[in-house]
Symmetry: D2
Subunit: 362 residues, 4 copies
């Protein structure tokens, strides 16, 4: 394992830097016979794409994906799918100054510590640009889920808090998510976020956010205890996204303050041979295995580290410096993190669905 | 991958059910030449062992570990270390009744969904008993860290909240952790927890908790972006522990409400050629790679699902039932979760330390 | 990967030295619902067991396997199966002399080079004793095959050459294999081998051998190109056995001298909707995927390196020495290699069968 | 694992079909600081390239590699290296006829059995074209070896038998290998092969071959028993190449006819603190670990399955057919298999070198 592969039976191997010729990946393990073309992937990339509102970075990338293999006559063949997304908007500029500075909150210091060097252009491999590869692969993984489970399977995400202001669960409307630039399920909160974020952007500052992702229509039985539990793999999947500092399943940290009575998700017969859960504190996962309830996870994104306010730091030579990060940045990386979180949940679920098929009776 | 192996270069493979003859594992990848005997492991097991205070389950297990291989003349040879811990206190009782009930919060339903059957004796594989294997392996992984990095490396844990009552960071004293049955770093809070937990236990109820684990003395450079980030692997490691529903690194969910200015960990030259960080919101990890600061993570444990208050549920045949869980249970599984969380952090760090050695210059 | 795990979905992790307390392993990924007990495994171990004829080592080990987990009420539960085989016949002797000698053909030198130390007692981890773990796991893997494919699946092996004397294919009789101590399918050759080997043993010498293993009743479609081809994984499986220096599939090296016409396995409709192959030079594998024909592989075993004739060598300090290996040794390790080769083929096939289920239509 | 990734710490993930837009891969785990550009890779690709003599297929592919990531300012950064090789000479033709025929010796039948479909254009994924990706990666792996071990490390290959005619070891001259189109180390035999192969080609037939690959300058200590032995991983590496049906290490199958005395590689002090082996029947590997001697392996290639002589077969509908394979084919795939075998040996060695660094003392 060298770090750039995710999954076991459905495996994404990713490559690419912010300012190299292209980013891309290989998705290996796609079952054969799934209708697939670039048109299945592009909409997901467009949701993540920068520059679609004033609230995200003004870098303009078409993020056009090209499939290089694994598809014949419009269907997957079972062989690996190579894909690339060209980098097009790479502003040539002088990186010499920042190339030796350790920007607080960035990976400058740690890439130097690990590799003895780093590609400073646009953050190199540490740039959030690599998440486009995840989104492309997630769109393909979603085709695996719908191919094997039917069209009612859904993985969807929303932003539930931005800069400390949370949505009102009572006003939650999944249909609203596409109607604002924040993936916000609560239109009233979305309007307030727009105001909040305008102030943040004008101040050259940034804010954190919390994303929630849910999967509906997945069967019970996914997950491989004791280590490859579904929740453990989801935690890894979400924590591997740039800027994520916390992950919750179901009630999450709130459960730590619950009593056993409050936490227990009671069950009743649903009258149709199934089970009607009375609550979902478990987030759809018990003992590391999906229960058939919706799978619910949240990821906390820290604020964008690139801010205009000078911060004290050091450079690669050990000198004290003041760092100001100019350039084109998202004031809140959590926003565009929503489709990335969806993609990572989808990849995790598709992988475990294939794993479960391997041992399932019949 | 079949679910019961953790790590890549230092790999723990675990086996065992609560009421089988034994639990155990294989730890493969131990570097040669490390002094190792059962005496290095037993103290860690004793910290996790049940029955040491009135606040944990009264099941009595000596949890004696036996090493079966991989050590010669008191030192590791580089070959895999097989080890077993016999199960001794397996009360014979009639499991027929609960064998077909789905206890809320337990994995009964999901094991049936996944495997079509389950071992109902004491929770079978889903029992927290398997975490003893993790603790034994964690003690060996700690020897890897100290062997390669020196005796100042430390991985330590504490309980920072129980049932909604949190410790006061101002009173934090690592030395206090061993002086109370809660791994509590704040003696005043520990006294209150004792009262809280007596009430909970008498009521046949349970509570959740939050554990914090920290690693000190680890070098910068550990972690393998973009997927096998150190934080991502820690998230998986901690979320794979029974009853954990949330994981944070550094400021965690609090960072989602920070501004960029608040979140930035400023740096100064430390006067000795190194870097003095002014804060540690990052929890010692930037871009998925350790920064040289202390590595800080937290895990939220849900309340023990076994409670005396009847809960509505269904059985394997779809009938409505009321479930009451008698037997010997921890009122707060988070307490004994502390050494388990330490072990999982240690295993993760040792694995990444070996991975980093593979590519390091020189 | 640390070297002691084999397989992906059905995974054997092995541990143990020749003279430690026990050898054993964990078999993870067993599908649930398979009837399994020690009685299913012991006959396979007994076939490999030393001391059953004058032609194998006189070390006496009962090789009794104990299952520690993963079975409930006589059936697999889907959780990992821990198992141990105690070492009982460990003659205490002075290993000091040979402990510092590099015996030609042994792994003494290379274990020192790799690990800086070695366990000299009976060969330590490099002893063929570890193959008992493989045989036990192979017996369990065979249960996976018959559980999923029916009772007609068979994996069987035979010795086809010993010391340069080969069996006559025209006299091949699978039923004869159990009737002689060589797993020889040709009774006439078996009688000659007995004479040959008596001479070898009396001379304190040793000889090499070739084993052939076949799998019947496996479906077409197993194997995962381009790297995890079925033949590639079989090659690894067989070459990982102590003393194996060559592996062939089907016609093997003979195919290198064939013309395309000679090599082509022609096909005809079999009259029942299937395919009747006219030959099997491919050994049942095309493009790395099983074709439905019998899968045929051979492994070449070098002679036992322990011989009484003095050989020149060096010791750990660089001094010239003469090495004479006394002790209890098989004059031909290839004989007891037959059940080991069967086991490794079975483990490989069972793993690929599970992998294929993951992506199979329906 | 989904089949298209090779290696653990240095990992090649491969994609691409014969007639898709491109083939390519991701090489993850390259240590940082290695000088690398396309110019380091192209010569290796040119050695494997078709159309360079009358003895190989007349398909004309420039096989130009482009690096898409992982290199900055001419040196590797430690991040994954994405690379592509465009397919350019894809003759448009009607594949309908052969698309439903099972060509003897080809993977047509088995791809259908496995995936329910196949890309018939030029063999799709089963085409030897994918081996260009291996060769490109092998050239990068060689840079890892020389970067870490110095310029004297060498991995080289030769064809040692073609159609049953073997080279004379007494005339072996590594310098001759580049002087003929067969990678033949014996000029006299090369001249005979040219005659042989002209006849074969004119007859529309094909022949098999044996390649030998050797690694010089590798340290003792590489390999990870008991399963990831160096010889086992080499066996997998070589057997994973198209058309390979047998693999030998050192004396290989000949060792099966040796006595223990003949097989033992005696050692003497070399007068410089090292060891002088008197022979190399072990092929440089003892107990699955490199001994410091040259590592020697051979691979047997079956004849090209595409021949002009009609062969009986069946089609996808179960009908009897006669198959004649027209088109541009190598009469002996083993020739161009030499650089592929070198590449696979190099990838295996570089992976194990990194693995050994992880646990090495100091």
């Amino acid at each position: 394992m060298s770090g750039n592969t995710f999954g076991h039976l459905l495996r994404l191997t990713s490559f690419g830097e912010s300012h190299g010729p292209a980013i891309g990946g290989v998705l290996d393990g796609m079952p054969p016979g799934i209708a697939l073309s670039e048109a299945d992937i592009q909409p997901a990339l467009d949701r993540r794409r920068p520059g679609t509102s004033r609230h995200t970075t003004q870098r303009r990338e078409p993020d056009t994906v090209r499939l290089l293999s694994g598809v014949y006559q419009g269907e997957t063949t079972g062989t690996p799918i190579g894909f690339v997304i060209d980098n097009t908007d790479q502003r040539s500029k002088d990186y010499d100054r920042i190339a030796r500075q350790y920007r607080p909150g960035h990976a400058d210091l740690t890439y130097i510590a690990k590799y003895g060097r780093r590609d400073p252009r646009g953050g190199g491999r540490a740039s959030a640009r690599e998440t486009a590869v995840r989104v492309a692969a997630g769109a393909m993984a979603l085709k695996v889920l719908t191919h094997l489970l039917g069209p009612d399977v859904a993985v969807r995400g929303a932003l539930v808090a931005l800069g400390g202001r949370a949505v009102d669960p009572a006003r939650w409307d999944w249909n609203a998510v596409a109607d604002n630039p924040f993936f916000c399920p609560d239109p009233e909160t979305a309007a307030l976020w727009a105001e909040d974020l305008d102030k943040v952007r004008k101040a050259g500052s940034s804010v954190g956010a919390v994303a929630q992702v849910e999967a509906h229509g997945l069967p019970a039985g996914l997950g491989a205890p004791v280590f490859d539990r579904l929740d453990a793999d989801l935690a890894k999947a979400l924590m591997s996204i740039n800027a994520v500092k916390g992950v919750e399943i179901g009630a999450g940290f709130a459960a730590a303050a619950f009593s056993g009575e409050e936490n227990a998700d009671e069950m009743r017969p649903d009258g149709a041979g199934g089970i009607a859960f009375q609550s979902n504190n478990a987030g759809g996962i018990l003992g590391g295995i999906s229960s058939g309830q919706p799978i619910v996870a949240r990821a906390a994104f820290k604020p964008t580290s690139s801010i205009l306010t000078p911060r004290r730091s050091v450079d690669q030579d050990g000198n004290a410096v003041e760092v100001v990060t100019t350039g084109r940045h998202d004031p809140c990386v959590g926003i565009r993190g929503v489709p990335v979180a969806e993609a990572m949940m989808t990849l995790t679920l598709a992988d475990h669905l294939l794993r479960q098929r391997a041992i399932a009776p019949g």
